[in-house]
Symmetry: C2
Amino acid sequence: MSIQHTVVFRLIHPAGSAEEREFLATGHAVLTSIPGVEDFTIRRQVSAKSDLSHQFSMVFADRHAYAAYDRHPVHRAFVSERWVPEVAEFQEYDFVE
Amino acid sequence: MSIQHTVVFRLIHPAGSAEEREFLATGHAVLTSIPGVEDFTIRRQVSAKSDLSHQFSMVFADRHAYAAYDRHPVHRAFVSERWVPEVAEFQEYDFVE
C-alpha cells in the first residue's frame, strides 16, 4: 500500500528570499536523489488558517521503502544540516487510501 | 490557478465505529454534491507524529470556485450540523503549485 509522506513547514528565511529559493531547490535535489522517493512536489500553503508556508510531498511504494528513506544517510544529513537549522515550524502527515 | 483545499482532522467517534463510517460517507456524499468540488478524496493519516486521523481533500479550479463552495448553503449546513459537533480537532491547509 503506497504512502504519501508530507511535511508542511515554515522557514526562518523571508518569503521570496534567495535563502528560501536555495533551500527549496536543494531540498528538491537532495531528497529526490534518495531511492524510493516518487512524485516529489513542493507547493505553497496559502490558507490564512495556518502560518505554515510550504509543503514537501513524496510517495513511497510501501512502508519498507519509506523506512529505507527515513534511515538513508542523505536524508539524515539533510535533516541535521539544513532542516533543523532553517525550519522554524513544521507538521508531518502521512496519508494512505 | 487550481487550489487543493485540505483538512486533516480527528473525530469524536472511536476509530472503526459505525459513527465514523457514517460521518465519512455523509461527508463524501454531501461535499461532492457542491458545484466546483473536484477530485474529492478521504484518506487516513497514519504518522505517529500527528494525532489527527483523516484527511478530506478537494481541488478547485480557481479561487472563485473555492469561494463559491465556502459560502454554499450545503457546505455551511454540513459545517454547523456535522463538522462542529463531531470533529474534535482539525487543521486546514490549501496548496498551490
